[in-house]
Structure formats: C-alpha cells, structure tokens
C-alpha cells in the first residue's frame, strides 16, 4: 500500500510520469513479494460444514462445558447480574426499559420466525444444489440416450440383411415380370405376322377357287352351243309337263 502512495506522489510531482501509469501494477508487483512460503502440495483441508455450536446466539458451547465441572453457568450468570444490580454497577434507568422492550421484541421475533427463516435459507441452498444436480443428471441422461441409440443402431446393422433380401426378391420379381411381359409381346408379334401369312394364303386360295369356278362356269356356258340349249330346254319342258300330270294326281290321297 505504501508503494501506491509513493506512486501517487510521484504522479503529482512529475505529471509526465502519469503516462507511465500503466506500469503501476507491474511496479507494485515487483515490490510486493508473493509465494514466499512453501506451496501447498496437497489440497487445503475442506472447511467444516457447520460452525461451532452456540447457545443463545452469543455464547459458545465450550464456555458452558468449561464451567460445568466448577460451577453452573446459569447460576454464575444470575449471580453476576444480581451483584451488578445490587451494587448499582448497572443502574436501572430509562434505558433499561427500552432495552427490555427491544430485547423482548427481538426474542419474540426470533422464536416465532427463526425456524421459518432457517428453513427458507436451507431451501435456497437446496435449490442451488438441485440445479447443479439437475444439470449433472441431464448430462448423464443425454449420454445414456446416446449410448442406447448407438446400441440400437448396432442391433439394426445386424438385421440389415433382411432388408437386402427383401430388396433382392423385389428386384428379381420385377425382372421376372418384365421378362414375361416382353416374352408375351414377342409372342404376340410373331403370331401377328404368322396370322398375316395364313390369312394371305387363305385369301389366295379362295381367290383361286373363285377364279377357277368362274372360269369353269364361263367355259361351260360357252361350251353349251345354241342347238344343245334348245334341245335341253325342250326336254325340260316335256319333263315338267309329265311331272305336272303326275303331280295333279297326288292331292287325292
């Protein structure tokens, strides 16, 4: 601290040194000595969780324990108070009543709201600890979820061959279907062409037949000369007359 006083005195004496103010901490650390003792090689022992026990908030328990073998501490207290009162070492004045009322109000307040405040403070601390615990648990849960996901992924990888089999089957079926379709189409095309040839042949034969019939008829008709035609017609008429006579006789039956 004295070095700081020196520094400020130097700053007021020589204003140009003010620009060197940033050197101040460095100068301070050069003069103050740190780390003179042995460094702690082990962690410093932790603080005790609860302080020493105290009665009435003021007098430590050790005082009572110290006095118990010799004299009762309450008797000692009462004796001292009565001695001070009787010898007028402590004078009862207006202040006494003020003190009585203040202490009375304080004791009443502590008795009535003490446990409430203590529980409240404990609850605050517990909330802080619960928050940290929550963070820790959340982190653990997150990692656990990651582990489970990884395990399930690994299990799935073992069962991947089912997927591949199904896919393979699908593809084989699709190939089969395509093959059959094409086969059918080929068959239909071939049949089409063969049918065409057959129908062409049929048509040719029919045409030839008709042509032949026509030619035969034509020649037959041509070959029938007029003389033969007249004879044939006369014979037909004679036949018909004969038949007509025979026919007339029939309806009697």
């Amino acid at each position: 601290m004295l070095s700081r006083v020196v520094l400020s005195a130097a700053a007021t004496a020589a204003p140009s040194l003010k620009n060197a103010a940033f050197l101040g901490p460095g100068v301070l650390q050069a003069t103050r000595t740190f780390h003179t003792g042995q460094p702690h090689l082990v962690p410093v022992p932790p603080l005790p969780e609860y302080g020493g026990k105290v009665r009435y908030g003021l007098i430590p328990e050790e005082f009572f324990q110290f006095l118990y073998p010799k004299t009762g501490p309450y008797v000692l207290g009462t004796g001292l108070i009565l001695y001070a009162l009787s010898k007028e070492i402590y004078v009862i004045s207006a202040e006494t009543f003020t003190a009585l009322s203040v202490l009375g109000v304080m004791v009443y307040g502590i008795k009535k709201y003490g446990p409430f405040v203590a529980d409240f403070a404990d609850k605050l601390n517990e909330q802080k600890l619960a928050q940290l615990e929550e963070a820790k648990q959340a982190s653990i849960q997150h990692i656990q979820n990651a582990i489970d996901t990884e395990k399930s992924q690994q299990a799935l990888v073992q069962k991947r061959h089912y997927l591949f089999d199904v896919q393979r089957n699908n593809i084989a079926m699709a190939l089969e279907v395509t093959y059959r379709e094409r086969l059918y189409r080929v068959y239909k095309e071939v049949k089409n062409r063969l049918d065409y040839h057959i129908s062409v042949q049929n048509m040719m034969r029919r045409k030839e037949q008709e042509h032949m019939i026509n030619w035969v008829e034509k020649h037959v008709v041509q070959s029938i000369s007029t003389q033969q035609e007249k004879e044939t017609i006369a014979k037909c008429i004679a036949d018909l007359k004969l038949l007509a006579k025979k026919a007339q006789a029939q309806p009697v039956m």
Partner: protein, 226 residues
C-alpha cells in the same frame, strides 16, 4: 434529565479519539462475504435479501442509471443496518448526526443533478416547469421549482436525522416515564410498557423504511437525470 436525554446523541469518544469512526465501520462486519456457492444460513439469507432489493430497485433505470447500483444498494444496506443497530440499548446511531446525513445526501444529489445537466441539459432544465401551467404563473413557478430542487439534499438529510432522532427520543422518554411510574402505580407501568413495546416495533419499521425512502429518493433523482 435534560443532559441524560440527549446524552445518547453525543458522538462518542474514547480518550479523546473519535469512536464514531469505529461505530460507522462496524456494520459491514455483520455482512460476511463468501466465495462459495453453498454458504451458511446467515450468508444465504443476506445474499438473497441483497439480490431482492437490488433487483427491485434497479429495474426502473436505464443502463447509465444502473452504473449507480453498487452505490445505491450499499447505501440502503448501510442505513438499514445502522438504524437497526441503533435500537440496541446504550448504542450510538451515526444517522442521528445531521453531519453524517448531509455528507451522504449532498454528494449523491449533486452527482445526480450535475450528471443530468451535463448530458441532457434540455431535459434537466425542463424539470423546472411542470406541464400545462398557465402562462402568467410561469416566472413564479420556475422560482418555486428551483427552490424545490435546491432543497432536495437538505430534505433528504433532515428527514433521516429527524425521524431517527425523534424515534430514539420518544423511546427514551417513554422509558423514563415507565421508570417513574414503576415506583408509583404498577398497572399504569404495564400500560406504559405496552406502549413502549409498540413503539419499538414502530421503530424497527421506521428504521427500515427510512433507509428505503432515502435510497428511493436518490434513485428517483437519478432516474430524472439519466
């Protein structure tokens, strides 16, 4: 009786050295600091209280006003603890001394006002004239507002001093009345004693309220001027 009544307000000295300095420096010993997360009950409740008051007080300020938060929170804690400690018997309350309250009020008020005049001079001057005043009244109103502004630090200091001093005096007087009655008439002693108890409860409330009022007003002046 006269000497005895005001004896508790004399600044105490030990062999000529001012013990008032020690008394003023004592309250921070009752508010421990801790670098741990989980503390004992005292530190936990104190930290929770300080957090509550600081949040409650500093929400209405903007960023520039919040730079005063350390000042205001330490102010309210100091005044509250000093007032409450003064209720103990045979103790000295520094806030009963007008000198100390003036030393607290004038720099804070002056700081707020000068800050306001430096940064936003138009806004700061606008406080001198409330809105919607009829034109003939303006000169008089400006004078009144100026006086009202200049009287703020005195009001702050005198308010705190007067309240705490009056409370202490009343307690003393009623205490001595109880003392006098105890030799004459016992039931009226009990009545007077009841009055004293009620007064003590009031004093505790007043101690806290005065701290709050002081800090609130300073923060209000700050809000006007940021």
């Amino acid at each position: 009786m006269n000497e005895n009544l005001f004896a508790s307000f004399i600044a105490p000295t030990i062999l000529g050295l001012p013990a008032a300095v020690l008394i003023i420096l004592f309250p921070p010993l009752l508010i421990p600091t801790s670098k741990y997360l989980i503390n004992n009950r005292l530190i936990t409740t104190q930290q929770w209280l300080i957090k509550l008051t600081s949040k409650q007080m500093m929400t209405m300020h903007n960023t520039k006003g919040r730079t005063w938060s350390l000042m205001l929170v330490s102010l309210i804690i100091f005044i509250a603890t000093t007032n409450l400690l003064g209720l103990l018997p045979h103790s000295f309350t520094p806030t009963t001394q007008l000198s100390m309250n003036l030393a607290m009020a004038i720099p804070l008020w002056a700081g707020a006002v000068i800050m306001g005049f430096r940064s936003k001079i138009k806004n700061a001057l606008a406080h001198f004239l409330p809105q919607g005043t009829p034109t003939p009244l303006i000169p008089m109103l400006v004078i009144i507002e100026t006086i009202s502004l200049l009287i703020q630090p005195m009001a702050l200091a005198v308010r705190l001093t007067a309240n705490i001093t009056a409370g202490h005096l009343l307690m003393h007087l009623i205490g001595s009345a109880t003392l006098a009655m105890s030799t004459i008439n016992l039931p009226s002693t009990l009545i007077t004693f009841t009055i004293l108890i009620l007064l003590t409860i009031l004093e505790i409330a007043v101690a806290l309220i005065q701290a709050y009022v002081f800090t609130l007003l300073v923060s209000l002046y700050l809000h006007d001027n940021t």
